[in-house]
Amino acid sequence: MSAPLTYSLESTDNGNFLLNLGPQHPGTHGVLRVVLQMDGEYILRADPVLGYGHRMQEKIAENMTYLQALPYVCRMDYLGAMSYSLAWVLAVERLCSFEVPERAVHVRVIACELNRIASHLLWWGAYLLDLGAFTPFLQAFADRERILDLLESITGSRLTYCYFRFGGLGADVDETFLARVAEFVTGFRSRLPRYHDLVTGNVIFQRRSRDVGVILPFEAAGYGITGPCLRGSGLAYDVRKKEPYSGYDRFEFTVPVAQEGDCLARYNVRMAELEESLTIIEQAVATMPEGPYRARVPRVIRPPEGEVIMAVETPRGELVIHIVSDGSTRPWRVKFRVPSFANLSIFARLARGQLLADALAILGSLDMVIPEVDR
């Protein structure tokens, strides 16, 4: 990024024009605004303008007790709310040195992975929507709906879950739920080839995604890219493997990686992750221990003075929660390092010199949730 863009009309003198993409635009997946300087169909410069969904989540968290902040945390990434919830409870548990019963650990993993599949499915549909295919969106919704039903049956909500508690869960799961999850896993695994039949092999899709929006590994480090966007560039960084949390080291799974760094690589990584998530869920269901679902923790959370950092792999990448505690019932400072924010920051670099259609394909392939970027 060199000098800041000025939005005066003078820049249109040399045949260029400014195109205001958003904040209301079907291709931006939310209230993101991108000011594009265009030369015909080519983008000379892109400047994302954020903040249309800004709610000052960090200040809200500072003014609440740890428990009160829990439901708010899930409002950032409404598609990966489970991971956010998990990150918050894990951070507080780490800060207060709470133990979590085994059963809760397993249920947390199941819930998070189901949520990850739901999020990837929605991304799959929305990305194809960006490429102009409408059908995959609703096809993916059929399976996503099954997951939402499953999660609704244990959490009571369909999108912004508040199910985890410090030291465990809000409620136990029963055998019916586990049976339904197992049934979903087998069913979804048999339906997965259909997703590939419909889209992956499609020649138009391949040509729209291949070699578009290439993120090089060193660039990824400069922008702090994480998640599937990074793994599409050949770097196998997954917090679940590198800094295992919540019992992820007990389950066997691989971290899918693609080398090309383009939209297609990111697509392939996410599709492979669907299968890995299924494997994790299967293992977690099969080895589900009996026992309590919640440890006894103090009613009022008053952590010791100090600070803690908790990293969690959300469907979009690495979420880092940094809590500074002053020993009172409210956190002194909370920082949410959200994956979409970093992943979106490379967009301006990727969009430069691209066709408008490709820029929207790139934007879609980064899979960001705008309320998460804006917080």
Partner: protein, 315 residues
Amino acid sequence: MNIPATILFFLLGISAIVGLNAVILVWLERKVAGHMHFRYGPMEVGPHGLLQTLADGIKLLGKQFLVPDAADRPLYLLAPIVSLVPIFVAMVPLPLGEKVQAWELNIGLPLVVALGLLNTLGILLAGWGSNNKYALLGGSRAVAQILAYKIPLLLCILTIIMMAGSYSLREIALAQKNGWYILSQPLLFIIYVVTITLETNRSPFDFSEAESELVAGFHIEYSAMGFSLFFLAEYSYMFIAAALASILFLGGWQGPLLPGPVWSLIKLYGIIFLLMWFRWTFPRLRIDQMLALGWKILLPLALVNFLVTAGVLAL
């Protein structure tokens, strides 16, 4: 019958076809889309939502037609009309049955193809007249793609004309009494279907609308009846393109047992279903990929096919 009465009669007939066709196609499109999405589509108004389009039409009629302040007013108002009016003329020489034809013209086929061009003019006018950058991009895309598909399309048509030895649509259909051209020219049929997908601006080639990129493209600024006229034009062009396909390749109204017009409609709506199937299955190409497809694949193929056919006919 005297001439003015005949013209009035034909006009009424054609208007009825245009209106009914749009009503049916909009309904059909939503049903086809719905079933491809594991849902039902419209179900509430009338049996299986059959009257939904009618209700929507009434709603659109009741809406306010807005003209943006910055729009180029005459062009903006003219654009939907320029899109729609040629359809009424293009329908004149279309034979839908042995006796169902408004006017037998000995240059029917070139006339219909030429009138198809005016649709692009309507899109360009709308794109320019709206004074909106998205609309302008949509309009310019429509112009950029026109040559890429019109030339292969014309080559397809020339091949057929050469085989039938006539410009008249009726003659061409009758020439297929002993064998449809789709059997002798399967490649040509594929090229033709691709080009009419392009001509009717439908996915995977809906560049001038390109919802995810240009929001709504050329008709972004149109509301109420302005918008519905574009809609009407799009579906009527689909009707004409499919009718041409059925006449050029599938023997028109000819078929066993059923009466001619029924066969016409079956073939025609079969082709339309094919177009809908494309739309709800494929992602959109990029504009440069479409141009490459037109110039580098369709054009040489159509040209080679034309020359080979000419050679075979000469023998």
